[in-house]
């Protein structure tokens, strides 16, 4: 109970700095809106420029069929090969389709006609997806031409395989549904790591740590007392994110709310441990802030599977990712929110979070204890 006065002191200090408090509470919502609306992996409305050297009904049908969807859009008509460079350089189109002279003649005589697809590869993700759209479209056109050709010859053929794709959990493939749980982890971690590390280091920088030293409190009591208010604030922020995710992006929690909050609390404690570890190392707020950003923002953004698929990374990076709490938290949160998974399939992730928290809190209280008693 000796930590209560410290908690009260920290709360008073936070309350006095109205703006920092405002940032801690409203920032999550702001970021959620930003991420929810702006971050989108869906590749749609890709600009396609067409160079139709053939100018026949067949070539026009191919060009129109390909670009008449929400994925590929006819944006530009090129008359000459020399214009292709300029169109791709100036990014007027990301894809150029070239239908060579003699296209329909070759097709109608029953052989294989080749078209060229040029893709702007500077954004590899969009490029590979748009190339796939183009290829699927061209193959589709090809099999239609084939069936018509057989029809005309009085032969009936059936396409061998009919594909029935189905999506689970997120049938409209909304990126927001995938990212909202990610934002959740990102914001919670950032705000706890930064605020705990800064609040401890500020005492060091302003020299008030000395005053705390003279108090009869044990090092870990001071630290936990300082960090607890931020955990409380982060819980409020978490609730705001959940409500907004539900209201704005239609992300409903399918699983157990109790389990979800349990996971959030555990994750916040992990962030607290990380923040304390940083405060044990840093002497100035500037350093503490950048260590916090580097150790929480970047890895969370990059190595946790928030945006980029973990499995495609080199094993070393996957290894680093495996140490970080966010990876486990994201798996838990996505599973609970999107798939209604219970505790048992997720216990290894819970265990990993617990171990991380235990390790960081132990190491940092040993270090800070040494600092304080020196």
């Amino acid at each position: 109970m000796t930590i209560l006065p410290i908690v009260r002191k920290e709360f008073r200090q936070i309350r006095r700095d109205k703006r920092a408090l405002g940032i801690l509470i409203f920032l999550p919502g702001f970021l959620l809106i930003l991420v929810g609306y702006a971050l989108n992996f869906d590749v749609k409305h890709v600009g396609v420029a067409v160079l139709d050297e053939d100018r026949t009904p067949e070539s026009r049908r191919l060009a129109e069929g390909l670009t008449n969807s929400e994925y590929l859009e006819y944006t530009w008509s090129i008359r000459d090969r020399s214009e292709v460079d300029a169109v791709l350089d100036g990014a007027q189109a990301r894809v150029v389709l070239i239908i060579p002279r003699g296209f329909s003649h070759t097709l109608l005589s029953g052989s294989t006609a080749t078209v060229q697809v040029l893709v702007d590869g500077s954004n590899p993700n969009s490029a590979s997806i748009s190339a796939a759209y183009m290829l699927i479209g061209i193959r589709d056109y090809s099999s239609r031409i084939l069936t018509e050709w057989m029809d005309r010859r009085g032969m009936e053929i059936a396409l061998p395989v009919d594909i029935r794709p189905r999506l689970w959990f997120n049938p409209e493939l909304k990126t927001a549904k995938f990212l909202v749980p990610g934002v959740f982890g990102l914001i919670l971690l950032l705000s706890t790591v930064i605020s705990t590390s800064l609040s401890v280091v500020r005492e060091k920088e302003l020299g008030t740590m000395e005053q705390l030293k003279t108090s009869p409190l044990h090092a870990y009591e001071i630290i936990i007392g300082k960090a607890l208010p931020y955990v409380g604030i982060a819980l409020v922020a978490a609730t705001i994110i959940l409500l907004m995710g539900w209201g704005l992006f239609d992300v409903t929690v399918r699983g157990s709310l109790l389990l979800l909050y349990g996971a959030i609390l555990l994750f916040l404690l992990a962030g607290l441990g990380q923040g304390l570890l940083i405060s044990a190392v840093a002497q100035t707020q500037q350093v503490a802030f950048f260590l916090s950003v580097f150790s929480s923002l970047l890895p969370t953004f990059l190595l946790s599977g928030f945006v980029f698929p973990l499995k495609s990374m080199p094993w070393l990076l996957q290894g680093i990712g495996a140490i970080l709490p966010t990876k486990y938290f994201l798996i838990i949160v996505r599973s609970i929110i999107l798939k209604d998974v219970g505790f048992w399939p997720l216990w290894p992730e819970f265990l990993a979070l617990g171990l991380f928290t235990l390790a960081t809190v132990t190491i940092s209280s040993i270090r800070l204890h040494r600092d304080l008693s020196s």
Binding site: R19, I23, L27, F30, A38, L39, N40, F41, D42, K44, L88, L107, L108, S109, S111, T112, A113, V115, Q116, V117, L118, V119, G121, S122, N125, I129, A132, I136, I138, R139, S142, S143, L146, I157, L159, P160, V161, D162, P165, L167, N170, F178, Q283, T284, Q286, V287, F289, L291, F294, L303, G305, F308, P309, K311, S312, M313, I331, R334, K339, V341
Partner: protein
């Protein structure tokens, strides 16, 4: 001039006194580049695949083999009932499942249409989308081969019309994500150092109470301001050179355009970020506030709204409109254009002009606010 020099020296001394600051300024950008270069890959590889082969015929096994041959998919489970697939999706072991119905091989041999079910876990929308596309391509290829085989068997030397596509990728033929991301890191570091560091450096004097001391020196306000800003601009450009070196030597990113042009335009970009940093310093009382404001209300929104990882053309139209006032958007177009496409000022002048306009506006606003606050 002397006064500014003294101020710059003071700032550098202060920075070097903090031992932990040096690695942050010199090592962190390199670490970030390497991390982003390797990690920021949206290539989809080793996607977990669950196979539910209810047919177990040579045909169904051939299709499964086609899936695994590409390296995109890795079979993580072979289940006997479709209901067993759930467990693999639940803990994210698999993203895709393929179900081949009973009679799959028989129908194919008979020449009638058989159906194939592909299930994807849409929770990870991007991976699901790309995997489904791959799976469809594989299946369509399989299907077309069968069709051609059948026709050849039936008609002997029959002629078959087909369309083949020859795909070529420009600028980044191997579709390496590093080529796209690493140039962007240069922009990110420029922004981080010039916007965040400067705002914090100024507020720190205020929080520590040393601002008063600086004000009573014979320095003018603008000298004071320049003295605070210049060191970070210098550091930022050193870091840009560092990161570009890593990019070219380590990631062998082709630097196709003119490096001088890049630096000149980076100068324009820095105008905007310095202005923002200065502005943040005028609205913050403590370092904590300055850092959070700079990070969360400048850095993050700029990162997300600039096309850093997420293409602008995918955003809803109102959001797209907002991106026009984000300076990073223009600088990313510039740096990617110069580095990957090798384009010059004749293509990039609209972006350069936009940066200049935004830079002058922001800087004027910030400087006048800064002067007022000091007075």
């Amino acid at each position: 001039m002397n006064a500014i020099r003294e101020m710059i020296i003071k700032e550098f001394l202060q920075l070097s006194r903090d031992k932990r600051m040096r690695p942050i300024i010199l090592v962190a950008p390199v670490v970030m580049t390497v991390l982003l270069g390797y990690a920021a890959t949206v290539d989809v590889k080793h996607v977990g695949l669950v196979v539910c082969d209810l047919d177990n015929s040579p045909e169904s096994r051939e299709l499964v083999e086609r899936f695994t041959n590409t390296g995109t998919f890795e079979v993580v489970g072979d289940v006997a009932r479709p209901s067993d697939i759930d467990a693999y999706f639940d803990d994210a072991r698999a993203v895709l499942a393929v179900i081949m119905p009973r009679g799959f091989g028989r129908d194919l041999k008979k020449g009638t249409t058989t159906s194939l079910q592909l299930l994807a876990d849409g929770a990870d929308a991007n991976t699901a989308n790309i995997s489904l596309n791959y799976a469809r391509q594989i299946t369509i290829g399989f299907s077309q081969n069968l069709l051609v085989e059948q026709l050849l068997r039936r008609g002997g030397t029959m002629r078959i019309p087909q369309v083949a596509a020859e795909t070529r990728v420009w600028y980044n033929p191997d579709l390496r994500s590093a080529n796209y991301m690493v140039p962007a890191v240069v922009a990110m570091i420029l922004m981080l150092l010039t916007a965040t560091f400067t705002s914090v450096a100024i507020v720190k004097e205020r929080e520590m109470g040393t601002m008063e001391q600086l004000l009573v020196t014979p320095m003018t306000r603008s000298q004071l301001m320049l003295g605070k800003l210049v060191p970070y601009v210098l550091i930022a450009f050193v870091d840009v050179i560092l990161v570009l070196t890593v990019a070219v030597l380590w990631f062998s990113i082709p630097l196709k355009g003119s490096i001088l042009l890049l630096f000149a335009l980076a100068g324009l970009f820095v105008l905007t970020t310095l202005g923002l940093g200065l502005f943040v310093s005028t609205v913050s009382q403590t370092q904590q506030q300055a850092m959070m404001t700079a990070q969360f209300f400048v850095f993050f929104p700029m990162l997300f709204l600039s096309g850093f990882t997420f293409p602008i053309e995918n955003m809803p139209v109102p959001v797209q409109v907002i991106t026009y006032i984000v300076p990073l958007r223009y600088f990313l177009e510039i740096i990617r254009g110069v580095v990957l496409k090798g384009v010059g000022i004749e293509t990039l002048w609209p972006q350069a002009l936009a940066l200049l306009a935004i830079g002058l506006t922001v800087l004027t606003l910030a400087v006048s606010r800064f002067q007022k606050r000091l007075g």
